[in-house]
């Protein structure tokens, strides 16, 4: 399985320029996604998980964002050095993304069919994309575009059926408010996966959904990932979802990947104090009262992050060294299990 590297992020540093100063959001992120793997990215809110994911399709708003160093290699090519045209082609053909909130990801004034046709059509023929989305009607003037729209619509119906929306030929003309949250997420998944991409980025895909709907959507993602042989970056803060879905896990804190390994490594043998803290904070089967423990404090302010290891003010094992030196480079303590902490030289 672990044969080919699809994405490699090397020492990525990202700054945001705000009125209050420079906010160092990513502080040297190293991440690898292997082909066919589901990689889970976990961490608290505001740790930079979404920013890491957005760097792959180069969707970080610049300005105010500024990538100060690093590389984002997708199939061996640096995404950060591509031209605008190349990056559009990459986004259209190779990448797919689904977001947390299925309500705000759909435009309420267009039917889902129109939105899906626009997106699928533009992905198929980028050069005509601008004319395609020109309110449907105008685009129909040219026969070539009409044909493209027709094909895209057929594909949309096919995908809707695949993700389990009954009576797709009819429902395609419905508007987003006529769908429930789970159904909207299905529509987004159908749209994202229409052109057989190689990487799926799922940013908290089930956080807004109920448990029973979450189970349905996770099952669907699992099936599609297998069927299309997708690699997946799954961002979530729900460790239960990670344990269920992922093969590998990266734990992120304050703009740095602190620990990375197989799902068994991380859950059964967590090493970094932050990972340990996260594991202790969740109640699972058999947890008695008073057994769970939070991590004191909260994620630091990125305008003035603590010197040295960014986790040291909340860490119970902190030594004076942690406040002075930046944490060591990730150490491989077991095959595929890397930790960045002074405790593991």
């Amino acid at each position: 399985m672990r044969n080919e590297l699809l994405v490699e992020i090397k020492d990525l540093r990202l700054d945001f320029h705000t009125f209050d100063g420079v906010s160092k959001v990513l502080n040297g992120v190293n991440l690898k996604i292997w082909r066919g793997d589901i990689l889970g990215l976990v961490g608290e809110t505001g740790c930079g998980k979404t920013m890491t994911a957005l760097s792959i399709p180069r969707l970080i708003p610049c300005p105010p964002g500024q990538i100060t160093s690093g590389q984002v290699l997708f199939e061996g090519e640096d995404v950060l050095r591509k031209t605008q045209e190349e990056i559009r082609l990459l986004r259209a053909k190779k990448l797919a993304m689904i977001f947390q909130d299925p309500t705000t990801s759909l435009n309420p004034v267009f039917s889902i069919g129109d939105q899906m046709t626009d997106i699928i059509g533009s992905r198929r023929d980028i050069s005509r994309a601008s004319r395609l989305s020109l309110l449907g009607g105008l685009g129909n003037i040219s026969p070539a575009i009409r044909e493209l729209r027709q094909a895209a619509k057929e594909r949309a119906i096919e995908m809707l059926q695949r993700v389990g929306i009954g009576d797709a030929p009819k429902r395609i003309d419905d508007y987003p408010h006529q769908f429930s949250g789970g159904m909207r997420q299905r529509v987004l998944i159908a749209t994202a996966l229409s052109e057989a991409p190689s990487l799926l980025i799922a940013d908290e895909p089930t956080t807004a959904l109920d448990v029973s709907i979450q189970a349905q959507i996770l099952r669907l993602i699992e099936e599609l990932v297998q069927e299309l042989n997708l690699s997946t970056l799954l961002i979530t803060h729900n460790l239960g979802v990670v344990a269920k879905m992922c093969q590998r896990v990266a734990v992120m804190y304050a703009g740095v990947i602190v620990e990375c390994g197989s799902v068994i490594d991380i859950f059964k043998n967590p090493k970094h104090p932050y990972t340990l803290g996260l594991m202790r904070a969740i109640p699972t089967y058999g947890t008695k009262r008073g057994e769970i423990k939070g991590i004191p404090g909260s994620v630091p302010n990125f305008l003035a992050p603590p010197p040295g290891c960014r986790f040291h003010p909340r860490c119970e094992h902190a030594t004076p060294r942690c406040a002075e030196e930046p944490p060591p480079a990730p150490m491989e303590i077991a095959p595929g299990h890397e930790v960045s902490c002074f405790l593991y030289p």
């Binding site: 979802v241 904070a281 004191p296």
Partner: protein
């Protein structure tokens, strides 16, 4: 165990559905449709359900933040539905609510001191020095510092804001707290801190909790008894051990199996429910869960509404499978 603090009998809340010309009343939604609960002094009672199952409405009708359509709410032997407005206001001091979103439930223009002190001022419990002292006491009770007193809500993190909300709820020395998804908006690391605080406060102040949540793991951790709600009805009710170890109702079983467990080696058969909870429909006189039920057998489910029956040890189930 001990005496009953709150009892809810046949509680109903219907919301009108308006439509047509002149926005006439064309139907109703039974958000809460005949619910019986009893909560003992010092207990934590969990109310679980998906969004739209009516659990928040139950919490709000108990406090009369929404007028119930029908039913009795008996708090310490007194029916709250029969009280006058002013009497109700006094009693409400003994039951306080903590809300889900710590961002929108605190007034952004007030300092922490004013937020926490406001209930004391409104109920004329304290002023001047006494008010000051009480606010300081409350603040330290929930683990905040004195120098937080003169700050505004935006200066705090989500967990700290939830602590402010808890301090405000405790100001009037309530006997009972209704907690509506108190940790859903928080990160796991912070959620653990808040749950810890709630357990400590319960022991120290002998509080009774009605804990509303969709997170089964949290409910299991903090509650003594649990009720599962679905479309305004209670489907199963029992002690935490009963519900989690021997779930009887098909809905409970499905929900428990669908809950992702943070253990990669955990293997269990997963029951995935078809469809979604719908707010409309679910006709009266049928089992509300029947359209999604994987164990549905007979026509009885769509012809006759199951009632809660005791299977022993205070474990109640509403399902035709156990007749």
């Amino acid at each position: 165990m001990s005496e009953t603090l709150l009892e809810v009998r046949k509680l109903k809340k219907y919301f009108p559905v308006r439509g047509g010309f002149f926005q006439r009343r064309i139907g109703h939604i039974g958000a809460v449709d005949g619910i019986d609960l009893s909560i003992e002094q010092g207990q934590s009672f969990g109310l679980v359900g998906e969004s739209g199952s009516g659990k928040t409405t139950v919490g709000k009708t108990i406090l009369h933040l929404i007028e119930p359509t029908e039913g009795e709410i008996i708090f310490e032997g007194q029916d709250l539905c029969r009280l006058s407005e002013s009497k109700m206001r006094q009693r409400r001091a003994e039951m306080q609510m903590i809300f889900q979103d710590p961002y929108s439930s605190l007034n952004p223009r007030m300092t922490v001191k004013r937020i926490v002190g406001e209930p004391l001022v409104i109920h004329k419990w304290a002023k001047g020095r006494a008010l000051d002292d009480r606010v300081r006491e409350l603040i330290s009770l929930v683990g905040l510092m004195e120098d937080h007193l003169y700050r505004y809500p935006h200066e705090f993190s989500g967990g700290q804001r939830q602590r402010i909300g808890i301090a405000r709820a405790l100001a009037l020395e309530p006997k009972m707290l209704i907690l509506d998804e108190p940790t859903s908006a928080l990160d796991v690391s912070v959620q653990a801190q808040v749950l810890d605080l709630l357990l400590k406060l319960q022991r120290r102040l002998n509080l009774t909790y009605l804990f509303i949540s969709h997170d089964l793991a949290v409910i299991r951790y903090i509650c003594d008894r649990v009720a599962l709600m679905y479309m305004g009805k209670i489907l199963e009710l029992g002690s935490v051990e009963d519900i989690f170890q021997q779930p009887m109702h098909p809905y409970t079983r499905a929900l428990l199996s669908a809950m992702p467990v943070a253990d990669p080696e955990y293997e269990a058969e997963e029951i995935i429910l078809e469809g979604e909870i719908s707010t409309l429909g679910g006709e009266e006189g049928t089992c509300r869960f029947a359209p999604r039920c994987p164990a549905r057998k007979s026509d009885r489910c769509t012809e006759e509404e199951p009632v809660l029956k005791e299977l022993g040890d205070g474990h109640l189930v509403a399902c035709h499978l156990y007749d």
